[in-house]
């Protein structure tokens, strides 16, 4: 009897300890990055750009490039990913073919991103001669996040009750009308969540972009950035820390990245809730 109580107590203590440890690690990481980084974040850094001639430092071009990269990657990956998911769940009869595609997607999602970078460079930069820039980098990232978009969209589509589809088709709606009036809106929340997760990966990615989007950064319009080296924030963090040996600025970038990531996660949670309310009515 006493032995069991001791064992239960020990088990609960261990669980409690791992919970506390996890929280403590997270708090330490966030605290450390903000404490080391925020002091070096300045208006000049956020709005300026690095120049040897003028002796200025700044990450404004990197912020712009990150934004371009998000837009371009989503624009490339969303239609394909959502389209493929709709095809697989709504049109294709379930069978070996669809499970093969789903298996391929799972596998693709697990491949290290540096590999995507290497193949992206060989294929988009060299073979297709798209140059180092937002196009090559964005297409590489698009391939990389495609499985995420595909799987989250598929899960969202499968979660839409069958009764909605029956209701629509019972009124004479064709398959496509059923999909875009009833099924896709019902899956919107899941699709948006998938998008936000993807944005998180785009913002956080560096390895896949080193060879495809380049490490240089100059503030430029989107059109120019498409085919000229355009480092995102994450890449610039690597460059500042590794090539310039400027750890202060690297930590400042880290702090900015951390804040952006937090903002994305909050946004994801809020969007989820808002769409939930819309669906529930009133």
């Amino acid at each position: 009897m006493g032995g069991r109580r001791v064992r239960d107590g020990l088990l609960r203590g261990a669980l409690w300890a791992s919970g506390v440890l996890t929280c403590a690690l997270l708090a330490f990481l966030i605290g450390f990055v903000l404490w080391r980084g925020l002091g070096h974040v300045s208006w000049g850094l956020l709005t300026g750009q690095r120049s040897y001639l003028n002796h200025t430092d700044g990450i404004f071009p990197n912020i712009l490039n990150t934004l371009y990269m998000i837009l371009f990657t989503l624009a490339a990956a969303l239609p394909v990913g959502v389209g493929a998911a709709v095809y697989l769940t709504e049109y294709a009869p379930a069978g070996p073919w669809t499970s093969a595609i789903e298996f391929a997607a799972e596998t693709l999602a697990g491949i290290p991103s540096i590999l995507y970078g290497l193949v992206g460079m060989l294929f988009f930069v060299r073979l297709l001669r798209l140059g180092t820039g937002v196009v090559s980098g964005g297409l590489t990232l698009a391939v990389m996040i495609l499985p995420v978009v595909l799987r989250t969209t598929q899960e969202a589509l499968k979660a839409v009750p069958r009764s909605y589809r029956e209701g629509a088709m019972g009124l004479g709606a064709g398959r496509w009308r059923t999909v875009y009036t009833v099924v896709l809106p019902g899956a919107a929340q899941g699709i948006v969540t998938g998008c936000i997760l993807s944005v998180g990966r785009i913002v956080g990615e560096s390895a896949a972009l080193l060879f495809t989007a380049g490490t240089a950064a100059r503030a430029a319009g989107l059109l120019r950035a498409l085919h000229t080296p355009s480092a995102t924030l994450s890449v610039s963090l690597y460059v500042y820390a590794n090539e310039y040996g400027d750890l202060d600025t690297a930590m400042a970038i880290a702090a900015v990245l951390l804040l952006i990531t937090l903002a994305i996660n909050l946004l994801a949670a809020r969007t989820g809730r808002r769409l939930d309310r819309q669906k529930g009515g009133e």
Binding site: P93, A94, P161, S163, Y164, R165, E166, G167, A168, M169, G170, L171, G172, A173, G174, R177, T181, V182, P185, G186, K279, G280, G281, E282
Partner: protein, 251 residues
């Protein structure tokens, strides 16, 4: 007899499992036909075949014939969209779309190309009135249909089916999830609706079948055992198995 729908030796298989075995049944105009029988005997399956909703199930196979107003519904040239507009369906569990009441009712008409606001307004009001729910929802047409009670949702679904002006209405245990008051409202509604529509219902409730239906068809293990006038079938069943079922001796 002017049958709106009639089936001839209709058989249906889900994969290798035969769910309907040579069912021949006529559905007369402006009457309520009730399909009764124990669970799993194929009532829902039979009902679904009448507007080809069974095709949503993968691996399903049909033999035999279903005629709608004299024409085969399996005719490759037939537009299944048009068929489902003529032969509408109300499901066992109320399934309003997660949209406003108004958009739910307008869904069918919009599907069939009606876009003008005034016309849609008129259809929405007419359908909600016909389904005896107008007074309860007229002030909340813009609210989500999911915020209504179960009985109200089911009547919204009936209104949604009526909005495309069908000829036949198929109702699969439309009241089985409802309380007695909502049930009797929908039963009254069915009696009301048969003036304008031909109705086929599935029910497990013998009293309900006796109250609302004019004709009754008894299914057992995929076979149609017998069909006839409800009064006759309940007072003088022609088959021993029918008698056992309606007197509650099995099922």
């Amino acid at each position: 007899m002017d049958a709106v729908l009639s089936t001839h030796r209709l058989s249906l298989w889900y994969g290798t499992n035969q769910a309907l075995k040579g069912v021949s049944l006529d559905v007369p105009a402006h009457r309520v036909t009730a399909l009764i029988g124990p669970s799993g005997c194929g009532k829902s399956t039979f009902l679904k075949t009448l507007n080809r909703m069974h095709e949503l199930v993968p691996g399903v196979r049909v033999e035999g014939e279903v005629l709608y107003r004299g024409r085969s519904i399996f005719d490759p040239a037939l537009d299944v969209t048009a068929l489902r507009r003529q032969v509408g369906m109300v499901f066992q569990k109320a399934n309003p779309f997660p949209m406003s009441v108004y958009d739910n009712i307008a869904y069918g008409p919009r599907t069939h190309g009606i876009r003008r606001r005034g016309e849609l307004d008129a259809i929405v009001e007419r359908s909600l009135r016909a389904a005896a729910i107008w007074d309860e929802v007229k002030d909340r047409l813009r609210k989500s249909a999911l915020s209504l009670s179960g009985g109200q949702q089911q009547r919204v679904c009936i209104a949604r089916a009526l909005a495309v002006e069908p000829d036949v209405l198929l109702m699969d245990e439309a009241t089985s999830a409802l309380d007695p008051i909502s049930t009797s409202r929908i039963e009254e509604l069915i009696t009301e609706l048969k003036r304008s529509y031909t109705i086929v219902i599935v029910t497990h409730n013998m009293q309900q079948a006796a109250r609302v239906s004019d004709r009754c068809a008894f299914f057992l293990q995929g076979e149609l055992v017998e069909a006839g006038d409800t009064g006759r079938l309940f007072s003088m069943p022609g088959d021993r198995r029918t008698e056992d079922y309606i007197t509650g001796r099995f099922g």
